[in-house]
């Protein structure tokens, strides 16, 4: 029967040599190529590039952590067996990774400092790489130190590759949005207007209402709406009017109602011919009140050819 012995802690100058080995070097290479070249290139499917970094990272990050931990222990004059340090690094990496991939709020908070982290539980599959990482650390004790330049390069490349990459840029667009305040008090409610959709074929506006007072139920009638482009074109909505915005009938989760009004027109032509502003004129009537005409100024702005957006985010 063979008795497995605790590998000796590496000697002075040898600790960084754990990174100077084909396995962690390959992991770093995969991570760097994937993050900086493959992601968003269209050469590989998005789900694959998303997983590649996790699999490569979970192999080599415990190695990097072990290197740093052993260096810190050495400087403080303490000593710990290789397997203890390796196990600690593997467990710490796994716990932090699992939390980041399972708790979106945590991923968002950490992502603000280190780059975008997408909380996706299917990424937890990559935890399987911790086993070969531990196996590598437990068995690989450098026989002799690697050259100093190789040690330094290993730590540098591993550190750079460990940094989360920014969300890749996405296509930017010309988008309609409110140009100033977008709310108006009408009787018992405050009516708001915002742009929900903006595209080559027109724009879609949502009118929402929320109660102003403590009345249990409140209704605002949207009697008419017209979009006036700065080019002089008038566009009628593709939805039948009048309709009612009803608050407090239990149909709306947050106690407010909304109406979506699509305005179909050739917005691509409008953009290309310099149409950058418009006015939505809405005729509203509160319960028992006179008719109110509300002009909502709108502006069409360009985000830029390529922009960076938060994951799953809407355009600002």
């Amino acid at each position: 029967m063979t008795r497995r012995t605790e590998p000796a802690s590496p000697g002075e100058g040898a600790f960084r040599s754990d990174l100077v080995h084909p396995l962690p070097a390959l992991a770093v290479l995969v991570l760097a190529l994937n993050d900086h070249l493959l992601k968003g290139s269209g050469w590989l499917p998005g789900w694959l590039t998303g997983k590649l970094s996790d699999f490569a990272g979970l192999f080599f990050f415990p190695v990097l952590l072990t290197v740093v931990a052993e260096a810190a222990l050495r400087r403080s004059g303490r000593a710990a067996g290789r397997r203890v340090v390796a196990a600690g690094s593997v467990v710490a990496t796994g716990v932090v990774f699992a939390l980041l991939k399972s708790v979106p709020d945590l991923a968002g908070a950490v992502g603000r400092y280190v780059g975008t982290i997408v909380a996706d539980r299917s990424d937890l599959l990559a935890l399987a790489m911790l086993a070969p990482s531990y196996r590598y650390l437990a068995r690989h004790v450098p026989a002799r130190p690697a050259p100093r330049w190789a040690q330094g390069l290993g730590v540098l490349l591993a550190g750079v590759a460990s940094m989360a990459t920014e969300q890749p840029p996405e296509r930017g667009f010309a988008l309609w949005g409110p140009d100033g305040a977008g709310s108006r008090a009408v009787g018992c409610a405050t009516v708001e207007a915002w742009v929900s959709k903006s595209a080559k074929t027109g724009l879609g506006l949502t009118l929402g209402a929320r109660a102003r007072g403590r009345e249990p139920a409140c209704t605002v009638a949207v009697e008419d709406a017209t979009l006036y482009l700065s080019s002089g074109q008038e566009v009628r909505p593709g939805a039948a009017l009048p309709r009612e915005l009803t608050i407090g009938d239990g149909s709306q989760a947050e106690g407010g109602g909304s109406i979506y009004l699509p305005f179909a027109f050739d917005n691509n032509h409008a953009w290309n011919t310099g149409v950058r502003s418009a006015t939505l004129r809405v005729t509203l009537r509160g319960q028992g009140e006179a008719r109110v005409t509300w002009d909502v100024p709108l502006a069409q702005r360009y985000e830029g050819y390529m922009v960076r957006r938060p994951p799953h985010g809407a355009a600002p």
Partner: protein, 209 residues
């Protein structure tokens, strides 16, 4: 080939090869057609969200002008019945214009470190110097080209040998950085060569579809 013309052509090829990296890439991104694609009539996915939904990518058009050099070797076969194929080498300076379109806007760079134009059509203008072999050539050429992401392309055109004052067809297949080319000078013979292409973008113009 006369020694004088040889020197001029070598100089021209060297100038094109050296000048293209120095020129670098000038990129223009048009604001034309900037709105995206969405079904305006369908209600928004989240009616309570006060932010505009990000439209779908309409794709893009890319106009690309690049320049560089090609070098390779192969065999040349003269027209005479008794002629045997002999080894030859060739160097070319080439400049191209590509117009491409893609259903998806490409982020930054494509496989060849230039914005990926997707499917593209283009034209090549170049000069080939093949001083060795049975069919030495000193020929200018023009080709039309169809390519996919600039990775795979097929070009066909006509070459004119200034020394012989004769011309003939030319076809070029490009796969990544490699090319295979057949040039026939009708009065002399045919050269078939493979080699490496090194081209850099000079001007890139990107526009939403």
């Amino acid at each position: 080939m006369r020694p004088g013309s040889l020197g001029r052509v070598v100089g021209a090829v060297a100038c094109v090869a050296c000048a293209s990296p120095a020129v670098g890439c000038i990129s223009f991104q048009s604001t034309r057609n900037a709105p995206g694609v969405a079904d305006i009539k369908a209600p928004p996915r989240d009616p309570s969200s006060h932010t505009v939904e990000v439209p779908r990518d309409p794709g893009e058009h890319v106009l690309l002008w690049n320049a560089g050099a090609m070098g390779g070797g192969g065999v040349s076969i003269a027209n005479e019945a008794s002629s045997k194929a002999t080894a030859s080498v060739s160097f070319s300076g080439e400049t191209s214009v590509h117009f491409g379109w893609s259903d998806r806007t490409h982020e930054g760079i494509g496989p060849l470190l230039v914005p990926d134009p997707g499917i593209s059509v283009g034209a090549n203008l170049g000069w080939t110097l093949a001083p060795s072999g049975r069919v030495s050539t000193n020929a200018g050429y023009a080709e039309l080209q169809v390519s996919n992401s600039l990775l795979y392309s097929l070009a066909g055109g006509w070459a004119y040998d200034v020394d012989r004052k004769e011309s003939g067809p030319q076809a070029t297949l490009t796969v990544g950085p490699f090319y295979a080319r057949s040039t026939t000078i009708l009065s002399a013979g045919t050269a078939v060569e493979v080699g490496i292409v090194f081209k850099l973008p000079v001007v890139v113009y990107q526009r939403s579809r």
